[in-house]
């Protein structure tokens, strides 16, 4: 990712932490956006490690990754993911 100005992202991937069990499907489907923390839970690559709770729970999805994000929503074994638009 570059720092060039981007249009406002159309979609947000919301992670419900009360449901997520860190099974790692979303991090496989969206490796560009999500890493795994040391306990296996998804961690947004954007933003600082000490990013706000909102940054960690609502990940901006660029249009090119929309399909992968939809797959992650459908396949998350804990139904912890939701795609919302801003």
């Amino acid at each position: 990712m570059t720092n060039s100005p981007q249009p406002e992202p159309a979609a947000l991937l919301h992670i419900d932490w009360t449901r997520c069990d860190g099974r790692g499907l979303c991090t496989e489907l969206l490796p560009e956006l999500l890493a795994r923390d040391e306990w296996g839970y998804p961690l947004a690559r954007t933003g600082s490690a000490a990013g706000s709770a909102a940054e960690r729970s609502d990940i901006a999805i660029p249009p090119a990754l929309r399909g992968a994000a939809a797959d992650a929503v459908a396949l998350c074994p804990r139904q912890a993911l939701k795609l919302t638009s801003r």
Partner: protein, 185 residues
Amino acid sequence: MDAALWAFGRGTGVVSLVALTVTVLLGILTRSGRPLPGLPRFSITLVHRNVALVACAFVVLHVVLLFFDSFAQLTVLDFVVPFFGSFLPFWQGLGTVAVDLLIAIIVTALLRNRLGLRTFRVVHWLTYALWPIALAHAIGNGTDGTSVWFLWLAGLSTLAVLAAVAWRVSARFVEFRSVRTGQLS
């Protein structure tokens, strides 16, 4: 014609059982959250689902083919209500029970994202009843049920499923379990 129907009825039954066994093993692997070499987690989930659907297709063939078989003498009732069959009613009834369970499990699995996790999970656990019931039906009802090759197949399948279940209930089953519970390595 009857001989052909009977042969296909048997064959599709055996394929169903093998596919169900593979599905159970893949389902347990899915739950562990672990990938296989060359097969990421989301692929394992999808293969688990697809093999389950293949198993269903063969179960449908198995039931429909035997419906037209004059020896099995299935009625429409036997598709859903167990233990009223004319040929080995107990063992055939187990097959009907397995079909009922399979329908419930597949429907709730396909509607998982609408039904919510709890319903899905409770019904999905019925798989642990479905698999041995289907196996018992195969052994008790099947023409080949007590032939040597089939008993080998049944024995190896049972070993594989028991090993997977033993792994399932072991402490190290879930990935990251040790870091999450604060143990070292």
